[in-house]
Subunit: 382 residues, 2 copies
């Protein structure tokens, strides 16, 4: 069995002991009446975390990628048009799945490391013509670049063109503010293993009433209305839900709500700023400009002459610290550091900066006289 | 948190303590090199349990219903024909999903509680005409009825008509003999939570090389070739696999292989026969004739004048024993008792018979002077 690992990659994040303990509570069947109040508590907690009154709100028995597919199947029929705001690997995946399920995909692009410009979406939708676009999709935090995409303008533009707005909140829910109802988002999904700090394997999602009842989707496993007949008051069997993961998710959601969303979001920002100050003191450059940067995933340019894989292997081998490399064109050019949920702690920021400074020194990289750890510690103190 | 429950329904089954303990081992990331040997061990173990040399063999991050959809998407394109041998709720689900993904479904039916007659499949395929049928699907054990469907004739007939054979082994893998290669099955899936006795949430599957590379399926989450690039030697990221469940599945598979498949299968038969003798001594009638009966799921007719829900509620409330009611037309007419994996133990057979006798007596049902428990105990001793 692998040893204890300090998970500071872009997910999964560290799991608090209360959540791990919940995994081994006695198993019951998926139709046991004792399970039903737990299902109800999860639904109610997820509504609070999504800041929504949407009835259809529950965790899918799949990862975030499964929820991406489920919500596209819910919103878009074969032959319909889907606009994808993309500036990274995961929004590209939205486009890929859109094509696979038979949608005509319109790409609204920005360079990787930048947010998508709402004016580009406006132009794309305006030129889409009379038949229109069924849905617009965007990633709130693009996990491959660490960009925090402003959403309110995108939603307004989508609605002006009668398109539903779908938001990927895999690396944002529970870490940055995401008021689904106030921003009028039509459909939104996340993963259990990032800012919520449960194990991977469940994908919380929510959809607005106005998107419901349009068609029977080309899927059964991901048929949200059929799933809601289990998660909602009817309690009709759909599939065998992964009960231990539901225990864990409930424990994780209790911790989120006990902390309180505003405090939790502040914590993510404060610790990210500490990390950023420390990285800058090490003389490292961040991929994303300050005003477009997400606190949940930080992307650092790898200095010239430093070997990506060797540094990550050293962090993992010597200290059991996991960070990630880049995806796609950013492979070998950036590191991705996640400070999400239970991983967003001052101690891990300081440890990572120290370990990174040592690993960079072993590569012959000379950090400026910056006292990185001290500067980070000052920022961490708020 | 619910109390300890003795799971004797048609799944999930009881989880052995070694498997529960594995759930709380330290989490690592899905791309951690320390995880890769665990993935390799799971693949190798699943090949032994499926009795196959198929390369593409791994657990899907979904339940058995998800694997049902994944394998249909793998084998059948929209517009192609799919023949479904159905005599129950779960084979009907195969037909439902087939229709949703755009297949033209041909139903080959038998009454619920009976096996499908191979001659009926032969007739259906012979009359399908020149364009043929892409795949034939059948449930090895139909969980809604407890029928064990003989497969060899179905496979032969499917292949004679150039159709691929898809087998639902959700309630059979690890409990009854299923030699995938010897029977020449093209694609097969199961669930983690039945005869393998891991928690629900993973779906082991295997597909033959000859079914591969036909098309890009209308799914990304369930794209087997893309998933194999993670599970196979390439180790390319696809989605964030549910690491704690993989630890648990590995522990469960070790227990299966330590026991040995032939001994495990014998155990399932021996304990089921004990249960059947005991139920008959209670004067109860079984839905399925002896020669078509699966040892993993037993279906009992509810005697006249006995209330289904009340008896099950009493078992659950007084003894923490879960059994299930019927699905579809069998609702209120049968009980379903599972003796799968870790739930297949003599103690639970004796306890259930005793508890059922007491619950039936409370309903005014007079069991014949049969000494049910004693008769069961004799059969359990083999």
């Amino acid at each position: 069995m692998p040893g204890e690992c300090i998970l500071l990659g872009p997910g999964p994040s560290l799991v608090p002991p209360e959540v791990t303990a919940a995994l081994s509570a006695p198993m019951v069947g998926h139709m046991d009446p004792e399970l039903f109040p737990i299902l109800g508590e999860i639904v109610a907690a997820l509504r609070r975390v999504f800041q929504t009154d949407n009835e259809l709100t529950f965790p899918l028995s799949a990862t975030g990628t499964g929820a991406m597919e489920a919500l596209l199947l819910h919103l878009v029929r074969p032959g319909q048009r889907l606009a994808v705001c993309t500036a990274g690997f995961f929004a590209d995946r939205l486009a890929d799945i859109g094509r696979r399920i038979g949608a005509e995909v319109i790409r609204v692009e920005a360079p990787w490391g930048r947010a998508v410009d709402p004016a580009d979406l406006e132009r794309a939708l305006a030129s889409a013509g009379r038949t229109g676009v069924a849905a617009v999709a965007a990633a709130h935090v693009e996990t491959s670049t660490g960009v925090l995409q402003p959403l309110e303008d995108l939603v307004r533009i989508a609605h002006r063109h009668d398109a539903a707005m779908l938001v990927d909140a895999v690396a944002s829910l529970g870490g940055v503010d995401l008021p689904v109802d106030r921003w009028d988002i039509d459909a939104c999904y996340s993963g259990s293993q990032k800012c919520l700090s449960a194990p991977p394997g469940l994908a919380p999602l929510t959809v607005h009433q106005r998107t419901r009842g349009r068609h029977t989707p080309a899927t059964f496993y991901f048929d949200l209305e059929a799933l809601w007949r289990y998660w909602g008051p009817a309690r009709a069997y759909h599939h065998t839900v992964p009960v231990p993961f539901l225990y864990a998710l409930r424990a994780a959601l209790r911790l989120v709500l006990d902390e309180g969303l505003p405090d939790r979001v502040s914590r993510h920002w404060r610790h990210a700023r500490g990390l950023w100050r420390g990285l800058e003191a090490l003389g490292l450059e961040l991929l994303v400009a300050d005003r477009e940067r997400s606190p949940t995933v930080t992307t650092v340019l790898i200095p010239a002459g430093v070997d990506d894989a060797r540094v990550r292997a050293r962090l993992l081998r010597e200290h059991g610290i996991e960070i990630a490399g880049g995806l796609g064109d950013l492979r070998g050019r950036i590191w991705r550091i996640g400070l999400m949920g239970h991983s967003s702690q001052p101690r891990w920021v300081l440890l990572l900066l120290g370990a990174l400074e040592a690993a960079l020194a072993a590569e012959g990289y000379r950090a400026p006289q910056g006292a990185a750890v001290a500067q980070a510690a000052a920022a961490l103190a708020g």
